[in-house]
Structures are given as C-alpha cells and as structure tokens.
Symmetry: C2
Subunit: 184 residues, 2 copies
Amino acid sequence: MRQPVDLKKAFRLINHGPVTLITSAHGDARNIMAASWTMPLDFDPPKVALVIDKNAYTRELIEASGEFALNIPARAIAPAILKAGGSSGRAGDKFAACGLQTFAAERVSAPLVEGCVAWLECRLIPEPHNQEAYDLFIGEVVAAHADKRVFIDGRWRFEEDKLRTLHYVAGGTFFQTGDEVEAD
Amino acid sequence: MRQPVDLKKAFRLINHGPVTLITSAHGDARNIMAASWTMPLDFDPPKVALVIDKNAYTRELIEASGEFALNIPARAIAPAILKAGGSSGRAGDKFAACGLQTFAAERVSAPLVEGCVAWLECRLIPEPHNQEAYDLFIGEVVAAHADKRVFIDGRWRFEEDKLRTLHYVAGGTFFQTGDEVEAD
C-alpha cells in the first residue's frame, strides 16, 4: 500500500503538523522516539527541522550516522506512540517494547515503521551551533513514501478514523486530524 | 474571553501543529501573513521556530522591529487566512483587505488578531546564518494568551467546530483539529 511521493510534494506529508516517530540507526543500534516538534523547512530540495533533546539516545545515533527518518503514525498505533515517547532506547530495543514492526528504508539506514501512513527518509545537514544551542536539527529529505489509501494524488484524503494522522496535545491525549474545511 | 497563559505552557498552544497568522509592525507599517511552518523550540523560556520567505514583507518588519506575534486562528476565519496567505502587504493594509480586526499586544508592537483563539507574543532571537541560509527564524515567547472557551486549565478543549484550530493542507483546504483520542 506504499507508494513513492514526489520529493517536491514531500513537505505536504507534514505540513498539517502531525506527531511523528523519529527513527535512527548506527551500526547494530537503532532507536525510535516520538516527536511533535518538527516542521517543513523548504520545498525543493525538501528539508525539515526538528528538535531533539540532548539526553535522547536518538540524538547520538543521528549524530553518528548522519541519517534519520520521520514516520507519520496513524491513529491505530497511538498507544505505541506514547510508549515510544515515554521510555529510552538505551535500556533495550524500543521497537519490540512498543510492539512495532519495521521495514528497510531505501536511502538511509534508519528503519521505517509499520502502521504509519507516511515516511520521510532524511540526511542530516550538520549545523553544530543550532544543535548545541537549540537542540535544533535540520535534514534534507532524500526519499518519501505514503500509504496510497490516504495520500492520493499528492493530497491527504482521510476517511476511516484508524488511518487518520494525529496531533499531540499533552497527558496521553492526541487530536486526530479532523474534517476537511473548504475556505474558498 | 482572553486569559493569560502561563509561559511554561505556551508551547501547548502550537504543539498540535495548527496553521498560524504571523503579525508584525515597525513604525507605521504593519503586516500579517499565514504560516504553517512553525513549531515550538523550547519549554522554559519558551521559544518558537518559524520559516519566513525572503520575499515576505513580514520579514522586513520583523528584522527591523525584532518582534512578532503568532496568532492561532479559529475555523470561523478560514477565508481570511487564505486571503492573508495569498497577497502581499506591500500593496496596502492587509488586515483591512482580509476583514480582520486587531487589538494591542502587551509586550510587543505587533498587533494581535481578533477571531483567533491563541496568541504568542515573541521577541526575535537574531540568528543571521539561519535566517539567510534557511529562512529560519527563532523567537522567545514573552507573553501568551488564549480564548478561555477552548483553552482550559492549560489544555485545548474543542467542542464547537467554529472555534477549532486548523491545519493547512494545500489548495485552499484545511483540516480542522479533530476529536480527542485517548491512547492510554
């Protein structure tokens, strides 16, 4: 059900501000964390900006490998997002602990997560000052994919609740992406 | 219906990724633009990151004044968001053209927009390399307010559609912030 997304349209996968799962790998290690603080940064070539705390194991893996992926989870795996956000991968494989399966990315070493509806494979653009002063990381999107049941002709088209993306609030609660509003 | 928001909780106003209206002012000039590419950058003191194109009049005003505001519009003013996103303030006052009323901020010169449900008053943290290389701006939130009908005890609580926040997709279409999902 996955199809490639034209890189020029990759920004649309996160333009609406969904919660993400950041995956990373280096050598035999891999990790996953939940992150709401991400945004598109450019169209072409597509770039993203994201915030990763200094204590995060994910940060070590991204700085070592220079790669990561943003996975956009569907509502059906909301419990796994909370688990991924509430524990550290230093203690053991978090994918197994969260009950998440993965598949191989095309262009990066970071694994991609099943149960998501979009995936952005990214290469880190090192910016040491931003990383140190603001925990702010910038990446170039080098491949993108989406579930063709909900991302159709370059646009999100949600119908079933279980395939909707999510927006994180606080305290274990999300909003699902709601109805379309035509403003014209 | 506005109440102050504790600065430590200001990030929650944009944590779910809503579309924003960026306002700015310098001398007699003021402007408004629509922006989806914003995110929280820190909790305390709260910071935000946002992307502003080199051609934007808003960018001139922010660089000159060192201040801006993020206004979080409710669904009821969706048409005005599109107008604000589709024209330049260099040609004349965009607030009037969009049919938007404003009120004075507490700590910055940028006006705040009626019809919104949250407002973050920000001071620019100059980062010339980010601004030049990535169109990326960083601000510290110095005051925050929210509509107490929908932001209650530090949490978004949406009921009526017209007061829901919005997430921008493409082509004049938004998603409204949807139902709460409890994942615990």
